[in-house]
């Protein structure tokens, strides 16, 4: 089950109150993207952040959601996701037994059982006007997302008939939806259906500019800026080389910088421990096959030269 936090069967539903970490970095690029997204959301359009892994889609989606000031319902797309995981369903029964002895000489029994409907996150968000963050929505099968079509266009949530007295829920005016997806991912993803994509305002995200990557890496690692500059430049040059199967991202910068800072190392090519950290985190970006042995050797040679170039 890909649901991030299951709605309580009994009692109040659970929502997220999102806020930035103390070391959250808001560079002009992030501010500009947030402003664009908020403009579309204010006009009532759902926003879709699309980009490769490591471009900060989910963080940006949560940041935009935080600006809206409403509780957030976070859903993570998954192959096993069905419509009922979005809207809810009939779970269990509610029994009722009434013994009426209002008149002492008359005994009256009433007993019945009704199916119990439980709202899931989309239904709760539509009722209460929460912000829905649907992370990696293309990991869900397209038919599971059909219910979103009417929600986003007609602002109407259509529940299965016979489930409730009110089979239609008018979407709360404060309801907003933010989607993320990775079009380059090939494992466990589906094509987004045209009808849904057509309803979304898609903002394509690329890897952040150098200044943003440096600011985020410095904030997340605690390494001095000079060392951060070297690491970010190293990773960016490796990314530009194209000699990998999996793109090295900002996460690699943060990981190298944080481990370096925690180990008390200097980002220097003369320090074999730092070189080892770089190789551990960057060499793994190439597929490990017997045929790729020669390629891996070339890649290691190139990585060592990049480390020598940036960290000497």
């Amino acid at each position: 089950m890909a649901v991030a936090a299951r709605t309580m069967v009994e009692g109040a539903p659970t929502a997220l109150s999102v806020r930035p970490r103390p070391d959250f970095v808001e560079t002009p690029t992030v501010r500009e993207l947030t402003g664009r997204a908020l403009a579309y959301l204010a006009a009532g359009f759902p926003v879709h952040f699309r980009g490769p892994a490591g471009t900060g889609k989910t963080t940006l989606a949560l940041h935009v959601a935080a600006q809206l000031g409403r509780p957030v319902m976070l859903i993570a797309g998954d192959e096993e996701f069905a419509t009922s995981d979005l809207i809810g369903g009939q779970y269990g029964y509610r029994y009722r037994k009434v013994v009426d002895r209002f008149i002492h000489s008359v005994l009256k029994y009433e007993e019945d059982a009704t199916q119990r409907w439980v709202d899931h996150r989309l239904t709760t968000a539509c009722r209460e006007g929460f912000t829905l963050v649907y992370d990696e929505f293309t990991r869900s099968r397209p038919e599971a997302n059909n219910v979103l079509l009417a929600v986003l266009e007609e602002r109407l949530l259509v529940l299965p008939t016979m489930s409730r007295d009110d089979a239609y829920i008018k979407v709360h005016p404060d309801f907003r939806a933010i989607f993320t997806s990775n079009p380059q991912e090939y494992a466990g993803v589906h094509e987004a259906q045209d009808a849904l994509s057509d309803r979304l305002v898609t903002i394509d995200l690329e890897y952040y500019d150098r200044e943003t990557e440096i600011a985020i890496t410095a904030a997340r690692s605690g390494l001095p800026s000079e060392g951060v500059n070297r690491i970010v430049d190293l990773v960016r040059d490796f990314r530009a080389s194209g000699e990998y199967d999996q793109t090295p991202t900002l996460r690699a910068c943060i990981a190298i910088a944080r481990v370096t800072a925690m180990q008390g190392l200097q980002p220097s090519a003369q320090d074999p421990r730092f070189v080892r950290i770089c190789l551990d985190l960057l060499e793994s970006k190439t597929a490990f096959t017997s045929q790729a042995r020669e390629r891996r050797a070339q890649q290691r040679k190139m990585l060592l030269s990049l480390i020598e170039h940036h960290c000497s």
Partner: protein
């Protein structure tokens, strides 16, 4: 006096209406009327006494009912410090909740998340 709309026995013209009659001129008429009126006075005093007793009983009963009403009101709408009661709480259906706009303050639980 003609009674147009008789609602109870009290509206039937009987000895109670005698005070509207003219002053008797003979001693015999006066004595007769005096005897009747003394009898009537005693009857009215008994009736007043019964009414007074009934009034006290009714006032006492009203006080008992008011006390019971206050008790039931506390059970139905307990103060926050009293803790749970055995009385079932009347819940709004989700539709009523959505229409009334309630739940903003306590309709859901929030978990903080930092990004």
């Amino acid at each position: 006096m003609k009674i147009k709309d008789i609602k109870s026995m009290r509206d039937i013209p009987t000895i109670q209406r005698l005070h509207n009659r003219s002053v008797p001129t003979t001693r015999e008429q006066a004595v007769t009327e005096l005897a009747h009126l003394e009898h009537e006075k005693a009857r009215l005093e008994r009736e007043l006494n019964i009414w007074s007793i009934n009034q006290k009983k009714t006032e006492s009963r009203i006080q008992q009912v008011e006390g019971r009403l206050a008790l039931l009101q506390r059970v139905l709408d307990p103060p926050a410090a009293d803790g749970p009661t055995k009385c079932a709480k009347v819940r709004q259906s989700p539709t009523e909740k959505a229409n009334s706009g309630e739940g903003e303050a306590q309709g859901w639980r929030e978990i903080p998340l930092e990004y």
